[in-house]
């Protein structure tokens, strides 16, 4: 039986009625087959307008409603809700956009009216074949996976766990803590970084709701929002944490010394090591790449001295599976690769350091116990040059973006240098000072005024060694003169890059990256912690360079977004998904190959749609040679009838 359709034409004040003859649209549509009621009204979206729709659906016993008004992006939900309250299925209500796509872009009233009629007729034809649909309900696994155990991941994990949600936290390194645990003091308050982070790390390790996988990596993620399955590779650490008593006998006898990652190569460590004293989990790890061999014949000295027999050379990589409902990416950053900065002698001269290395020098737990000494000769540098924007804000050669934290940490470095070396002179080369943040501007000003750090606006062209000094060639663009400084130490504020594993992880999660390689947020203003993949959220520098307060705030934001999904008894998914006509399907699997969401499979010789995975894009429908697969409520027949209505009336 043919549907009884009502058409409601909105004036939108003069926004539509000023260019489109709304009375004529209503009149023409009333003569269109299947339309049993038409009316025009000044503001359909107003309460009286909505009530008019509700009233007429009931009075006229309408099976479908077309509202000719503004873009469906604005009021589709409004009118579908109104239709629903009158007892109609919301998918029996469609919007004809006669404002943005018609009245606002044309001036000739006759032509605009003619076009509005065609658009509305097209939507009536579409609605004729719409099926009533119900949202698809999806069960939710009330657990979250957090990838990355720096401050972003730690904060997200704690916020979630304290909201009574089980958390799986995965960290690729032997300990959690990220870069923040390497820092000395934090701007602008000069809090000790380790002192404020280690309580949180301990809380993570003791929290009953947090399952911690360190020295582990996410290898594969399948599923969809509410129901992901993650495969996690646990790398063997060859030490049983439960047996290890932290006696440190093993490192005493280990004959191998390699650069210590935690001190960024400023010190060495043994092949069996604990990254730092407060490491979580508190245990040793055997670096199998550095170890002369797991064969006891080759060495095995550590095994010999280990009293509790915690060392197990036969440990194998293990893959564990975890089911979660949401994922948070908190993979942080790496510093820009030093090989890109040959002109500053980074990697060539031992006294040219990056920001993180300088942090280690400043740190009380660092290689020099907090004394600032040159790595080359252990002398105190009396003149020190800090260079900002190294690799940042340089679209021609390096990264085009601002790394955001360098202005502040350089000011902190210069200030702390002066606290240690009272008679020393610090210079800072900068492009601009970007100190947007609470107390930040004042902090930079104090560094300049109270500490006497000399700020020079300009770039450095070259750093080279001469008679034991590092000669810095730069320019002061404010004074308009070349500058040469014979320094004892140079510190480079290297650009921040997305963590080295970000690209691989983005593919695993099907989450997009931006042009710089950071994870792309769903909307730059309004959805900054959501990725473009449903159920995958972002926290910290994985999304863009940011400082610790911003990271902590974003981590809290990501946590509440996860809660907003996992607190629901079930998730609703749009029912506008593909459906297969089994009589026509030959099981050729062309649709399976093109589906961007892996939502299709061949079951018993016919294509089968996983309605939860399907996003309703219709790529399958355009691919199928036999029109055996189509998207609900936008079938080939509906498109054909829309075309007929749009073109049929043209002279």
């Amino acid at each position: 039986m043919r549907k009884k359709i009502g058409v409601f034409v909105c004036h939108c004040g003069i926004n539509i009625a000023g260019t489109v003859d709304v009375k004529k649209v209503a009149q023409e549509l009333s003569e269109f087959p299947g339309v049993s009621y038409t009316v025009d009204y000044v503001y359909m979206c107003s309460d009286p307008g909505q009530n008019l729709i509700i009233q007429k659906i009931k009075e006229e016993k309408l099976d479908g409603v077309v509202v000719a008004c503004c873009s469906p992006n604005l009021h589709e939900t409004t009118f579908r809700r109104a239709a629903q309250s009158a007892g109609l299925n919301p998918y029996e209500c469609e919007i004809a956009n006669i404002r943005e796509q018609c009245s606002w872009v044309h001036k000739d009233k006759d032509k605009a009216t003619e076009k509005a009629i065609k658009i509305t007729k097209g939507i009536v034809e579409k609605l004729r074949w719409n099926e009533p649909l119900q949202p698809i309900k999806v069960p939710v696994t009330k657990r979250a996976l957090i990838i990355g155990g720096g401050i972003a991941g730690i904060q997200t994990a704690l916020d979630l766990a304290n909201s009574d949600i089980e958390v799986v936290l995965v960290e690729k390194n032997p300990s959690i803590g990220g870069h923040m645990i390497q820092l000395s003091e934090t701007f602008p308050t000069l809090d000790c970084s380790q002192c404020i982070l280690t309580p949180k790390m301990v809380e993570v390790s003791k929290h009953p709701k947090i399952k911690l996988y360190t020295y582990s990596e996410v290898q594969e993620v399948t599923g969809y929002v509410g129901n992901f399955q993650a495969k996690i590779l646990k790398k063997p650490r060859y030490v049983d944490p439960d047996k290890c008593t932290l006696c440190d006998e093993c490192t005493q006898v280990c004959p191998v010394v390699v650069p210590n990652e935690f001190d960024l190569g400023l010190t060495g460590r043994k092949a069996i090591y604990i990254p730092f004293p407060q490491a979580i989990p508190a245990t040793y790890t055997l670096d199998i790449e550095a170890c002369p061999g797991v064969l006891p014949i080759a060495c095995g000295k550590c095994w010999d001295v280990c009293e509790p027999k915690a060392i197990d050379f036969d440990m194998k990589p293990e893959i564990v599976e975890e089911k979660v409902g949401a994922i948070v990416v908190a993979t942080g950053y790496d510093l820009y690769d030093k090989k890109n900065m040959a002109e500053y002698g980074y990697g060539k001269y031992p006294d040219v350091l990056d920001g993180l290395q300088f942090e280690r020098l400043l740190s009380a737990s660092g290689p020099t116990r907090g004394k600032i000494l040159r790595p080359s000769d252990h002398k105190e540098p009396k003149e020190i040059v800090f260079i900002q924007c190294v690799g940042s804000r340089d679209p021609e050669l390096h990264n085009k973006y601002c790394s955001k934290i360098c202005c502040m940490y350089t000011a902190k470095h210069a200030k702390l240098y002066k606290h240690h070396v009272h008679d020393g002179q610090a210079y800072v080369f900068y492009i601009d000072i970007r100190a947007g943040g609470k107390g930040y501007e004042e902090f930079v000003n104090r560094t300049m005024e109270e500490e006497g750090v000399l700020y020079l606006r300009g770039k450095v062209s070259k750093v080279f060694e001469e008679n034991g000094k590092l000669v810095v060639w730069g320019v002061d663009t404010l004074a308009g003169q070349d500058i040469e400084i014979r320094a004892d130490m140079v510190v480079l504020a290297m650009a921040i890059r997305p963590s080295s594993g970000a690209e691989k992880l983005a593919k695993i999660l099907k989450a997009a990256q931006d042009t710089d390689g950071f994870f792309a947020e769903a909307h730059p203003k309004l959805r900054p912690v959501e990725s473009l993949t449903a159920g995958v959220f972002l926290a910290g520098v994985a999304q863009a360079p940011k400082d610790i307060p911003d990271t902590v705030a974003q981590a809290g934001g990501a946590a509440i977004k996860v809660v907003s999904i996992l607190s629901q008894p079930e998730l609703l998914h749009s029912p506008l998904v593909a459906q297969v006509n089994e009589h026509l399907c030959t099981g050729c699997s062309m649709c399976v190959d093109v589906c961007p969401f892996s939502a299709l499979s061949i079951v018993e010789g016919k294509a089968k749609v996983n309605e939860v995975l399907c996003e309703g894009c219709g790529t399958c429908a355009a691919t199928c040679l036999r029109s055996a697969i189509e998207v609900k409520n936008l079938t080939h027949l509906q498109v054909h009838d829309m075309l007929t209505a749009s073109l049929g009336g043209l002279k």
Binding site: S71, V594, P596, L650
Partner: protein
């Protein structure tokens, strides 16, 4: 007579970029010829070549398919399939006696209202000298 001909155009616009881009043209009150009837689809990748041939069959003088920029597809890669399919279709149109200029594919993001109006203006200009499309029009 041909120069006076007002071509009838159907534009298949993807919901997320090009339809939103045409909305942006509206919000910015950018005027363009009224010859074009928009049909919003979920993705440019859902536009079957059959839709385009149907449109010509039903009397369209020109057909436009517009999607998200390559790499920006809301559905990851639907527009890539559209690009391949439409490039092939355009190659084939001359074999059925149709000027390939009657068919066009474009990329318009949700922010590119101005670009959308420029594309429509150019397309109308391009179609006018070709006159009415009669090769595929179904005789009624």
């Amino acid at each position: 007579m041909n120069s006076e001909h007002e071509p009838k155009i159907v534009a298949f616009l993807c919901k997320w970029c090009s339809s939103a881009g045409s909305d942006m043209a509206g919000v910015s009150r950018l005027e363009y010829p009224s010859n074009v009837i928009p049909i919003t689809v979920m993705c440019s990748g859902s536009v079957s070549p059959l839709y385009i041939l149907s449109a010509f069959n039903l009397g369209a003088d020109g057909v436009l398919v517009s999607g998200c920029h390559p790499g920006d597809c809301h559905y990851i890669k639907g527009n890539m399939y559209a690009r391949r399919r439409m490039a092939l279709l355009k190659e084939l149109l001359p074999y059925i006696g149709l000027e390939p200029e009657r068919f066009q594919m474009s990329w318009v993001s949700a922010a590119e209202g101005l670009k959308f109006t420029q594309i429509i203006k150019e397309f109308v200009k391009q179609l006018k000298p070709l006159g009415p499309q009669t090769q595929l029009r179904r005789s009624l």
